[in-house]
């Protein structure tokens, strides 16, 4: 009995040890980033390394925020990410609802073609997209970026939302029809409010994706004034050396909107992960 108890203790100790190690692997780089962002440039690479800076300073943040057009890039990123997220949520929801509830010729075929897009890695499309952007005069344009971001995210999110909408009780929609509503009333007054968890999931993941997106932004945008934050931060890596404190401070500032979005949508988001528990 005693042996069994001590073995169980050992086992749980091992679990904790493994979990702690795993967490450390995940968290340490982030902690290091935070730590470095508070260090003067001279102390960034010191030996022995220090996790807590000897003379913490906010100068990296001040410099990152004020220099190198950072605020402009921040605004660009915010504009692109917010607009794209809103459009993706709206358009995917509308498409998903049509697929979930309406019967039209070729419905499943069209849906299948949309799903096919999911199987093509994004990078394969980058050259055709570049040519398309050029033809459509969408290069060096934030609207162009929004266009490609939105079109690229609609397939997956339509797929995700269709499943959710199909699970909503049909009688609710029939009740709206009899109560005097149109299909648009159903969509705006029933489907959208009842799908907050799913919509929040779409919104969070879309925003994260757009906010961090690098390759398309780098490819389509040459004009330094139209850059988005990931590209701008990457450009802080100098040819002759990198001011790591600055890069990390900028990256930390860049995380703020993501954290805010996550916190504000979190209560729906956790609901979204337990879709099955949702009851009409």
């Amino acid at each position: 009995m005693v042996q069994f108890a001590s073995r169980r203790k050992l086992l749980s100790f091992m679990y904790y040890l493994l979990a702690t190690l795993g967490a450390a692997v995940m968290i340490l780089p982030f902690v290091w980033m935070v730590s470095t962002s508070f260090k003067e440039h001279a102390f960034v690479i010191e030996f022995p390394p220090r996790l807590i800076p000897a003379n913490p300073t906010l100068s990296n943040f001040e410099q990152a925020w004020t220099a190198n057009n950072f605020q402009l890039y921040f605004r660009n990123s915010l504009l692109v990410a917010v607009t794209s997220t809103l459009l993706v949520v709206l358009l995917s929801a509308m498409m998903a609802y049509a697929f979930a509830r309406f019967e039209f010729p070729g419905k499943e075929l069209i849906f299948f073609i949309i799903l096919l897009v999911l199987f093509v890695p994004n990078l394969i499309g980058i050259i055709p997209q570049f040519l398309l952007a050029k033809t459509l005069n969408l290069r060096n344009s934030l609207i162009g970026l929004v266009f490609f971001y939105v079109s690229g995210s609609i397939p997956f999110n339509t797929f995700l939302l269709r499943g959710f909408f199909e699970a909503l009780p049909k009688e609710l929609e029939e009740a709206v029809l009899i109560d005097g509503g149109s299909y648009f009333t159903i969509f705006s007054r029933m489907v959208l409010p009842l799908s907050k968890p799913a919509l929040a999931t779409v919104a969070i993941f879309s925003f994260l994706g757009f906010w961090d997106e690098y390759v398309q932004s780098l490819t389509f945008i040459d004009d330094p004034l139209k850059r988005t934050l990931p590209v701008a931060i990457a450009s802080f890596h100098g040819q002759h050396g990198t001011e790591w404190g600055l890069v990390f401070a900028a990256s930390l500032i860049a995380i703020v909107p993501v954290v805010l979005v996550y916190i504000s949508l979190q209560r729906y988001f956790t609901g979204g992960l337990t879709t099955g528990a949702f009851k009409g």
Binding site: E171, E174, A175, I178, G180, G181, P193, L194, K279
Partner: protein
């Protein structure tokens, strides 16, 4: 207030004909119950009227207006769904007010109507709650309230009591009847429960396999069913059926069931004479089979030998499962009977209420 007319209405889903040549005229202010087993097309018939399904063929009128191509919202109907379909994210008040808001009814008028409906249904204290905070019975009342406030020409009910427990169902049944009295509007009510149909309807339409079997008042349906299906569907326990033949002997007619032979009342002889020597289905309701000791006075009891298989005491009555030869049947006895399981007994058939059906067409012989 309006009448409703189905004129040769068909609804097909691919190969399946859910509603087959349905013609019914529901009078203004009538309480019509559509009843039948599941899959008989009764709900589809209601949904066709609501505009939730498209008619394959035929015409539906509400009042004098053909509504085949009219959108549900323009049909001036309200519907109570089986699942209630309350809007989960809205309060009870908003659930009831939603239809009026969509129709741009003035705010104080909405308030007046919602409060009045809440008063009628006894739910004024629930107006601020969300549907998930309500019990089944309360939700059901909110669903009815949502229909009432609209003041529609026709109320449609699609099995609104099937999610309630037995006690609440009886209570709500009476409330819906009272509501019909009060509102004086046309009610069309779908159920698979013949007790609901019998207790509430001014007329009942019995459907089976998409076809209207019979439409009549509850009492007429019970006493004079047109065919074997209606006879078996209305009444609980169901009517007993025996394969039998009609025999003429000495100027009198007998129903010959092999193991028993019972005399046909004289006044029925002209009706059944044409069936002498032919196979028929003989039907008799459980309450027309008596323990001879408790047979009501004034009937002409026809004795039948039977073996008691099982008895089920209900308190106010006792169901006795009997067999005579190959025939198994049930009787509803006075609970004071001394008959017990395993007894060989003589029971009494009250032939005044007998039924004879043609075995080929299954139609009643009258």
């Amino acid at each position: 207030m309006a009448s409703v007319t189905y004129e040769h209405v068909y609804k097909r889903f691919g190969e399946v004909t859910a509603v087959n040549d349905l013609s019914i005229k529901v009078e203004d202010r009538e309480f019509l119950v559509l009843v039948g087993p599941s899959g008989c097309g009764k709900s589809t018939a209601l949904r066709l009227l609501a505009g939730l399904e498209e008619i394959t063929d035929g015409t539906i009128y509400i009042g004098d207006r053909v509504v085949n191509d009219v959108a549900p919202k323009d049909r001036d109907i309200a519907m109570v769904f089986q699942s209630y379909a309350l809007y989960p994210h809205m309060s009870v008040y908003d659930n009831m007010a939603f239809g009026l808001k969509l129709r741009k009814t003035p705010k104080d008028e909405i308030k007046r109507r919602v409060e009045e409906a809440a008063e009628i249904l006894g739910i004024p204290h629930l107006l601020d709650r969300k549907p998930r905070q309500l019990s089944g019975g309360q939700r059901q009342r909110v669903a009815v309230g949502r229909a009432i406030v609209r003041e529609p020409k026709v109320f449609l009910f699609d099995e609104p009591l099937s999610n309630l427990d037995a006690k609440l169902r009886v209570e709500t049944r009476a409330n819906i009847s009272r509501l019909h009295q009060r509102l004086q509007t046309t009610f069309i009510y779908v159920t698979h429960d013949q007790v609901e149909a019998m207790t509430m309807a001014s007329r009942i339409a019995v459907m089976n396999q998409g076809i209207l079997q019979q439409i009549d008042t509850p009492q007429n349906l019970y006493d004079l069913p047109d065919n074997i299906f209606v006879a078996g569907f209305i009444g609980s326990p169901a009517m007993n059926f025996f394969n039998a033949s009609i025999r003429k002997d000495d100027g009198k007619l007998y129903v010959d069931g092999g193991a028993f032979s019972v005399k046909v009342p004289e006044e029925r002889i002209p009706t059944y004479e044409a069936y002498v020597g032919k196979p028929v289905v003989f039907g008799i309701r459980p309450e027309d089979i008596h323990d001879p000791n408790f047979a009501p006075p004034g009937i002409d009891p026809q004795p039948v030998e039977a073996n008691v298989d099982v008895t089920e005491l209900m308190g106010n009555e006792i169901f006795v499962y009997l067999n005579s030869g190959d025939h198994n049947y049930v009787a509803r006895f006075d609970p004071r009977t001394s008959i017990r399981m395993g007894n060989n007994v003589q029971v009494a058939f009250n032939m005044a209420n007998m039924h004879i059906f043609d075995r080929d067409t299954e139609r009643a012989v009258r």
